[in-house]
């Protein structure tokens, strides 16, 4: 059913909060996503020409690097991009077969690969480029929010988190319920001014991105600051130089 579900009041909106301040662009989330999902709910994730020129494949998570701002205030921002599990996504409603759906109970957006005809319309309807065609099986695939990990009772409770969240070496990725204002992720969004992407399009994405923190004013590398060895008196400085030769 590709009409959006009536979400029961109080139903969780599971999603990710991604910290653009601490993300170092190491690609650990992207590779661990690929590794887990290649054999998970939406596996396999095919690669075309993996060992030659023109290697490409299906990834649910891709890390871009951008430059933002000008001059001294400019900075490099690493930006992981995956499905935002939107509350009102057209990717679901445009699907002609009912293969694309949003779960009422937790808001996760998934594809039923047995019903998908591979028309690609849902990918056109996603502003965020979050859906990728598996051209071998001829069906659409996308981030599952690791639905096969987060409820998986066969793995230790501490590991019931998306693969990308667990892999991040700088803890730049956080998983939780963004509908609950008391949850750790919602608190993080409130504290750090978490952003929704392209809010004007009206998809109401669940995932949030925490913008880079403001730089400390006048902050200078420690090496540039005067030390006790920076002696003002020229005579003493000359003596210092002679003696340290």
């Amino acid at each position: 059913m590709t009409c959006l579900p009536d979400r029961p009041p109080g139903a969780p909106a599971l999603g990710l909060v991604i910290d653009l301040d601490t993300c170092v662009g190491c690609q650990a989330c992207a590779t661990s996503c690929k590794q887990w999902n290649a054999s998970g709910h939406s596996g396999p994730l095919p690669d075309l020409h993996p060992y030659s020129a023109g290697a490409e494949g299906v990834w649910f998570n891709r890390v871009h690097s951008f430059e933002a701002g000008e001059g001294a205030a400019g900075r490099t921002v690493h930006f992981p991009r995956s499905c935002l599990h939107c509350e009102t996504p057209d990717c679901v409603t445009v699907c002609p077969t009912g293969a694309s759906y949003k779960r009422a109970e937790d808001g996760i957006v998934l594809v039923n690969h047995d019903a998908c005809i591979g028309c690609g319309l849902c990918a056109w309807a996603c502003p965020y480029g979050a859906r990728e065609m598996d051209e071998v099986a001829g069906v659409m695939k996308k981030c599952t929010l690791c639905v096969d990990r987060i409820y998986n009772e066969t793995i230790p409770e501490a590991l019931r988190q998306p693969a990308c969240v667990l892999a991040c070496p700088t803890k730049a990725r956080h998983f939780g319920d963004l509908a609950d204002p008391q949850s750790a992720v919602s608190q993080l969004v409130a504290d750090r001014g978490g952003q929704a992407l392209m809010p004007d399009l009206g998809y109401r994405p669940v995932n949030r991105y925490l913008p880079p923190r403001q730089r400390q004013a006048e902050s200078q590398p420690i090496e540039d600051q005067p030390t006790p060895l920076d002696i003002k008196n020229p005579l003493l400085r000359w003596m210092g130089r002679v003696l340290t030769r």
Binding site: T97, C119, V139
Partner: protein, 309 residues
Amino acid sequence: MKPAPSIVFFTVASGAGYGLLFWLGLLRPTGLLPQAPAFALTCLGLSLLLITAGLLASTFHLGNPQRAWRALSQWRSSWLSREGVAALLTYLPALCFGFALVSGASGLAVAAGLLAALGAAVTVWCTGMIYASLKPIAQWHHPILAPGYLLLGAYSGMALLAAVSAIGGVVGGPASFIVTLGLAGLVLKLAYWQIVDRLGPAASLASATGLEALGRVRPLDPPATETSWLMREMGFRVARKHAAVLRRICLLLGFVLPMLLSLFAGQFGGGLAVLALLLAALTVLAGILVERWLLFAEATHTAALYYHG
């Protein structure tokens, strides 16, 4: 957006086929067209041929064409599903129309013809709405898009109808309709290009990354050095220079030439008119093919912002 040949062919061929069916069903009862059943049957056959060829071509675009029947299920939310349902339903009155023509049931022929015309219009409207409803593509998500599909379908259908009816000995009416519809189409295309040339993308990279507070955002490194399905599909770009040439070709082939040919045919009639209107129909189809290719090639998707800025 990538102009996939199967979709470009589908929208042009079935657009013209439905246009022809529309005018045949609507105009035949008025007496403006040749009344011989052979004429109506030829037009009906041609329109169903074009529609069916287009629909078949569109399934080549699918990853799993054998499941295409599933696409009829979600008509409540999906314009693509509605298009499929409308396309299939339109076969019923169209085939009924054919049956009535063969068996000489003139009352039934009129009723079925009108119903088929309605089905044709609804189907093409749904096709237009598939594209017009896509918010990430500014050049499509515009109220002018779906009426454009309707008008150009009607125009190319009329060009086909005029060619066949010239063979059947009637030239004047249909030929003058080509000029009227062609003028309307010309104005519509010029207006559309004026609109999209002023239009920015549906969002900016700054809002696509949530980094608006930092100022201008530009791409530094893409996620992969090689391309991807996403980039082939949504990252397609046509050089402005080439697009400008193609627009002129589209105007010339699709509108100016066929209108001149139709004026010529209306003036002189006879065997030359048949030739002129056949040529007009061909140039209209060629022009609309270019138009449809451009409609894809010039459309930009917000997902490409992450790559091209």
